[in-house]
Amino acid sequence: MSRSVVLVDAVRTPFGKAGSLYAGTRADDLIVRAMRGLLERNPKIAPTDIDDVAIAAATQSGDQGMNIGRSATLLAGLPNSVPGYSIDRWCAGALTAMTTIAGSIAMGAYEVGIAGGVEHMGNHPMGEGMDPNPRYLAEKIVEQDALAMGNTAERLHDRFPAITKERADKYALGSQEKTAKAYAAGTIQKDLIPTATRSAELGWGIATVDEPPRPGTTMEALAALKTPFRPAGRVTAGNAAGLNDGATVSLLASEEFAKEKGLSIKARLVTFAFAGVEPEVMGYGPVPATEKALKKAGLSISDIGLFEINEAFAVQVLAFLDHFGIADDDPRVNPVGGAIAVGHPLASSGVRLALNLARGFEEHPEVRYGITTMCIGLGMGGTIIWENPHFTKGAK
């Protein structure tokens, strides 16, 4: 049994730099705000209709703990009858929340569900509470580099010498420029939910735009940045995503339910796949994940008209593009920029990719298929293939 699953809508809070914009704001308040914003935008869905709420966080303690899925559901004011659960697949948390809810809809257990993610890296620095089993290194299950994401990115540069620091910087610059352009056109703001912020020193405020973008970035400025992961390395703060705070959330439904209720249909889920690679080069994960998903869908890379790939590191995007023979500046790839510019609050990014792709579908009715894909720590990749509901044959 399988039914068509659609993306009804997706939104997010503006992203902040860790320890800055949301320094005095709780992670659970961020996801609650995103959820309330989403439901307010979709008044045709009765809260009692929601079959489940899956919320991801890479660190599940403190304000991201207590089963953040259920906790956020209660704090958002949804009825007690709506359940919730938590998801963890590190950076692909929200992506996995979407595939998990989608799977439940496809097999007929659910009609509509909420999938999202939150990460407050200011409150939960990367690696917080991590206690790797000593066997990892003793038995060489992974190499030391596998446990620090910056090192895995350097390892990817080692593996693909054609991806130089200059190419990575150039890609990063492009991401900043595309984001600045999209902001100027008002594209990104469409899916941002204004979010209250507070700090004891600054009082209350409202975040309405992403804090991380650096619109004035130049190649010279990028070239001058330190390579913190190794001497004479290639990975810098400029060609990688930062440490960020933010929340994202999406509404998924069976296509029948969406049509019956007259809901918007922003994308149709075709299939998805996750795949593993050596943990030392986790950034390569999107390649096998995408190959696997394409194969399942019976599609080839040339069928994909839009790519939303998470920019944890520029090198990881470039490795993907090189593999599939796509140019570094191909306009189909991250047309509104990516995580290098707007930020990557770990477990929340998957839904951000989906909402960007949905906007891309709206603007490009000539495109039939798009993908959202991302790399995942400890050596994985995840890819969802989506179909454009606005697709008009031959209108290219």
Binding site: P194, A196, G203
Partner: protein
């Protein structure tokens, strides 16, 4: 304008806890209006247990923030509070120390001078009342052009209850805003009705606020409201009540309520408040505010206010931290309570214990029928609470099951706290305590509800006199917010601390305070 330099702290008053006013711009573009909102956050830097209050320096801070906001030429100015608290009004701890009329007049005037700017500057102003707003806290909001309120926030003007008037604009502005009848309701009837606060839905239906939003995204919704008012898509109509026929009858209603409350005595605060409300029919803002200043200055110099502030302080502050009591941590855990007697006083005590401690409470009397009557009374009271929707059926069932009665005092075995409420006859009580010592453990507290007999004498000849303590409630227990804990020369700290802990309530409507009497 008066400056804070003229407003030195009255002698003996505690240092002012300053409510800071922090200015931050909010871009309204995403909310559909091209412009900036100057948002002022009031925050004293402490948590919600110490609400924002206004003393001279806090008023000066707000004044500066308004000036700074105006200088940015914003589309609107809004004020809001810290989490859970908007503002709880004037700093009452300093008020009691005011001993010069001109000093009192000056602080009243300074409050007006600052607050009225929010109602008189050309820029539209908003109060985003995110939490508790009482007295001057609500009044600063009334000066603004528009108000939003969090759905869980309580608001009110308790001044008349305290022996004051809403003298920072409330007595003049509220009648003009919502009309004489509703203003009398808020300023007089609510205050006189044991300081009843308004729930958000009441404040909205009375017209005190323009919109109510849930706390989860209160600020975002309030900013959205401001943007929609500025863009004209939301229109808030204000009624002119100057020709309303209800002024005289509303004032008469207020006067009747005050006379009834005070047994026919003419009390200054309600009288002055009614005069101000009546004057609001025709008064300009300036003449109204001047009259408020005079009323406030007169009242703060009066003995009734000082007595009232003393009582307020006692109930509000000292019940949390009881003067002279040993550290609460020294108290023992109480998991079973005995009440000797099942008459009305004893039954009231049993009800209080079962509600506060939620542990088994056993009552005894000379025969089973009397004991049963006491138990039945407690259960009936619990049922009444359910009827009044002040308790859930589930909680009442739980508590009812914890109450039992017997004619046999052996049921006190295992009690941690036994209180007697039998005849006021020393020899009877001495005899009782001696008998109880054969049943209870050496640590069990033996308390007496006596009002006049010597607790010391009651403990004489006991094996463990250190566990005897006076625990005197005033009748009726549910209404009188006072408890006297009396220790003897032998009572130990653990016993006293246990008694004080047991007397502290966890229900908002029970207000008790303990003093130590040796």
């Amino acid at each position: 304008m008066t400056t804070p330099a003229d407003l030195t702290l009255p002698e003996g008053a505690p240092e002012e806890v300053i409510t800071h006013a922090i200015l931050r711009p909010v871009d309204l573009t995403p909310f559909g209006f091209k412009g900036t909102l100057a948002l002022i956050t009031m925050d004293n830097g402490l948590d919600h247990t110490r609400p924002n209050t206004f003393g001279a320096q806090s008023l000066a801070a707000l004044n500066e923030a308004i000036t700074a906001a105006v200088a940015t030429a914003p589309a609107a100015i809004a004020i809001t509070g810290k989490p859970f608290i908007f503002a709880a009004g004037a700093d009452l701890s300093a008020l009691a120390f005011l001993n010069k009329r001109e000093q009192s007049l000056a602080i009243g005037k300074f409050g007006h001078d600052v607050f009225r700017r929010l109602g008189e500057i050309e820029i539209p102003t908003f109060a985003f009342i995110n939490g508790l707003a009482l007295g001057g806290g609500l009044e600063v909001g009334l000066h603004c052009n528009y108000r939003t309120l969090a759905s869980t926030a309580f608001t009110g003007l308790p001044e008349v209850f305290l022996g004051l008037v809403p003298g920072w604009g409330g007595a003049t502005l509220l009648p003009k805003l919502i009309g004489p009848e509703k203003a009398v309701q808020v300023i007089m009837l609510n205050a006189l009705n044991n300081n009843t606060m308004m729930k958000a839905k009441d404040a909205l239906s009375l017209g005190v606020v323009d919109a109510v939003y849930e706390p989860a995204d209160f600020l975002e919704k309030s900013v959205q409201f401001a943007a929609s008012v500025l863009s004209g898509s939301t229109k808030i109509e204000r009624k002119d009540f100057s020709n309303d026929p209800a002024w005289d009858s509303a004032i008469a209603t207020g006067r009747a309520a005050a006379l009834k409350k005070y047994g026919g005595a003419e009390i200054a605060a309600p009288t002055r408040a009614l005069e101000l409300i009546a004057a609001a029919k025709t008064a300009t803002r300036s003449s109204g505010f001047d009259a408020e200043d005079q009323a406030l200055a007169d009242l703060t110099m009066s003995d009734p206010l000082r007595a009232s502030l003393y009582a307020f302080n006692l109930i509000q502050k000292k019940r949390k931290k009881v003067e002279g009591a040993p550290k609460p941590a020294l108290g023992r855990h109480v998991a079973k309570v005995g009440v000797v007697g099942a008459g009305l006083m004893a039954s009231q005590l049993a009800l209080l214990f079962v509600r506060n401690l939620k542990c088994p409470v056993v009552m005894t009397d000379i025969d089973q029928a009397r004991a049963d009557k006491g138990v039945a009374w407690v259960r009936a009271e619990l049922a009444k609470l359910v009827e009044k929707r002040r308790m859930s059926q589930e909680s009442a069932d739980r508590l009812s099951a914890l109450i039992s009665g017997s004619a046999d005092q052996s049921v006190f075995a295992g009690c941690d706290f036994v209180i007697e409420a039998i005849f006021e006859e020393l020899s009877l009580k001495q005899e009782l305590f001696k008998k109880l010592e054969t049943i209870i453990s050496p640590e069990c507290v033996l308390a007496t509800n006596t009002s006049s007999l010597s607790v010391e004498a009651m403990s004489e000849g006991l094996k463990n006199p250190e566990r005897v303590v006076g625990f005197h409630f005033f009748n009726p227990v549910a209404i009188m917010p006072l408890l006297e804990v009396a220790r003897t020369t032998k009572t130990d700290d653990a016993t006293t601390a246990t008694a004080v802990n047991v007397g502290k309530e966890d229900h908002g409507h029970h207000k008790r305070c303990s003093g130590i009497r040796r």
